[in-house]
Symmetry: C2
Subunit: 347 residues, 2 copies
Amino acid sequence: MPKKKLSEAVPGGGPGGSGATSYDVAELAGVSQSAVSRAFRKGASIAPKTREKIMRAAKQLGYQPNAFARGLITRRTNLVAVVISNLTNLYYPEVLAELTQRLSAVGHRVLLFSLASESDIDEMLGLIWPYRVDGAIIAARLKDDQIRQFNDRGIPIILYNRVGEAEPAASVACDSAAGTRELIKGLLAAGHQRFGIIAGPEDSYVGEERLESARRHLAAAGIEPFLYRGGFDYRSGEEGLRALMEQAGGTLDAVIATNDAMAMGAIDCARSTYDLAIPGQISIVGFDGVGPATWGGYQLTTIRQPVRRMAQAAVDMLIERIEQPGMIPEQRLFGGELLPGRSARLG
Amino acid sequence: MPKKKLSEAVPGGGPGGSGATSYDVAELAGVSQSAVSRAFRKGASIAPKTREKIMRAAKQLGYQPNAFARGLITRRTNLVAVVISNLTNLYYPEVLAELTQRLSAVGHRVLLFSLASESDIDEMLGLIWPYRVDGAIIAARLKDDQIRQFNDRGIPIILYNRVGEAEPAASVACDSAAGTRELIKGLLAAGHQRFGIIAGPEDSYVGEERLESARRHLAAAGIEPFLYRGGFDYRSGEEGLRALMEQAGGTLDAVIATNDAMAMGAIDCARSTYDLAIPGQISIVGFDGVGPATWGGYQLTTIRQPVRRMAQAAVDMLIERIEQPGMIPEQRLFGGELLPGRSARLG
DNA sequence: GCCATTTTTGACTTCGGATGCAACATGAAT
DNA sequence: ATTCATGTTGCATCCGAAGTCAAAAATGGC
C-alpha cells in the first residue's frame, strides 16, 4: 500500500484526471509532498532541477493546487467580495468589468453578490463570512454597524461611491457635489431660470449628494427648483419630466437628472410628449457618462465618472490594505469630466 | 492548556471577534466539536436541546463555519464559476443579475470571470481549477478541448447561448434562427426588397447563427443582402449603416442588425446622417430586446430573449447536474418574443 | 580530503469542519 | 428488572497544501 494519501482512480480517470493532489505529483516525481508545495510557491527554497521535475509531473497529471486547502492553512483565500446593489443600472456593469479585470490582474478572484434590494444586505453578509474573503469592494449602502462587522473581522473594505458615516472606512468616489456644481454653474450662466430636478430614491447615497448639491447651488442663486423622485431608471425620467412640467405649468427651463438613465428618459419624453426642442427650449443634464449617453440620439450633457481610474484606485487601495492590515482609512475623491454633449445650453 | 485548537485572541478580539472556530463554540457550549458541526448541518443527528445550546454559543461568538474547511472535506464548494466574455455588452448585465440571484437562492456563490478578449479563456481556466467549483455557466466561446477539460474533471457546465460542437455539453440558448426567420418573414411580407445585414464578429457564435439564418431566408426569397461586419457595439451600427448605404447606392430598404446595440447605432445614423424616416423609408431590426431598445427614441423592432427564463433554466440544469453527476447533455432552446416596436414595417 | 556553511529536502504537524464508528443514554416492550 | 431498539454523543481520522525544523546534501575554503 502506498505510504499515504494517494488519490484514488477518478471517474474518467485517464491522464489529466481531475483529482490529482500534491501527493500524487510527489510520487510521480519521486520527491516529497513538501517539495511539490515549494515548487508552486515562488521564492521558496527549492533546487531548480527539482522544481522542473515536479512541474513536469504536475503537468502530466493536470495538477492544480487546491485553493481550499491552501486557503485553510494560509488564511489567505485570494477572494474578494464585490457587492453591487442593482446590476441592471447601466453604470455598474462598466464598474464591474473594470474591477474584475483589475482584481484578476493582481491574483484575486471575484466573489460576486448582487442585491435584489438594499435591505438584503444583512442576509448577504452572512453568505460572505464563511468564505473568509481577503477583502471587499462594496457599491451598496452599508450601515455603520455593517461596516463595523467588517472592521471587527479584520476584513478590509473599500466603499465605492459611498462613504462611511460614523464608522471609518476607506472609499473611492466621484465628486458628485463638484460635478453637479459645474453643471449648474453652466446652466445658470446660460440664463436658465426655472429648474426641475429628477432625483433618485432617498436611500441612494450618491443620489442624495447630487440632489443636495443642486439645491444648494440653486438656492445660492435664489432659485427654488421643482422636484420629482424617481428610481434611477429610464421610466422614472419620462415620468419625472411629466410630473415636473405639470408642477411648473409647462414653463420649465432646465432639468437636472441625477443620473443619465433618467436624463435620457426625460429627453425622450420632452421630445415626444411635449414636442420640445433640446437644448433650444429646454436643457436636460445627467450624471455618470454611461455608454448610451454619447449615442447620437442623446448626446447628453453630463458628468462622466472616471470609471477606470476609480476602479483602479479601489483595487489598489484594497490590495494595500490586504497586504498591510490596519492602514488608515482614506477617501479618494475623483473629479468628473464635463461632457458638453448637446442636450443643454451651458454658459 | 486547553485540549486542542482553541483560537487565539484575535485583533480587536472583543465579543463577535472574527476567528471563532467550531472548537471555540464547542467549548463554550460544553459539547464536542462534532456536535457543533452537526448542529450546522441540517438533517444531522442531534438533540434539539443541544442544537439550541450550540446555536446560542455560536451567535455569542459570531461563529460562521469556515467554507474552506468544509469544502476541503466535503468536496463541495458551493461555488459556481460564471464566465462572461464582454460585460459591457448591454445584454449580459441582465443575464448576470439573474444568474447571480438565482444561484444565491439555491445556496451557491458566484465566482465571476470576465474576459478582456475571448482568447484569454485558457488562462482563465487555470484560475478556475484551483477553486474546485461545483459547476460553471459559460457565456463565452469554449473550444471543444476546453469543454473536455470540464468534462474530464467532472465539473458540470452549462453553455449560455452557445452549444458544444463535437464535445457534448448542456446548453441554454435563445433560438436565433427562428427569431431571425420571423423578422425576415415580416420584412418580406411588408414588401422590402433591398436588404443590408450588420453582423457581429466572426468569432461570435450567436452572431454567426443569426447571420446564417438571415442569409438563408433571404436567399429563399431570391434576395442577396449587403453585408457589413461590426463588433456588436453601437458604433459598429453607425459605421455599418454608412457602409451599407454606400454599397447599396443609397437604396437600402431594410437593415438587419444581429444585435440591438448595432441596430440602435444604425437608427441614429440613418436619421442624422441620411435624414431617413424610420420606418417610413427604411426598416431596421435588432435582436436581444435589451432595456434601451424599448426606449422612446428607438422603440426597436426586435426579438426579445426570455432572459429570466433562460437564466432560470441554466441554473436549474446546472444544479441538477451538480446533484446528480453524469446526466445526459441536454440542450434547451427558447423561442424569442417579437417586439413589434416602431423601427420596422412588418407584414 | 576535511570541516564549516549554505542549500535543499522530507517527516510531521497544522488549518477547521465533516463523518464513520463505537459508546452511551433513553425509553419502550417484555 | 432485562432486553432491545432508537436516538445522541464524542473520539479519531480525513480532506490537501503549507510551513517548521532538523537531517541530508551540496558547496566552498584551505
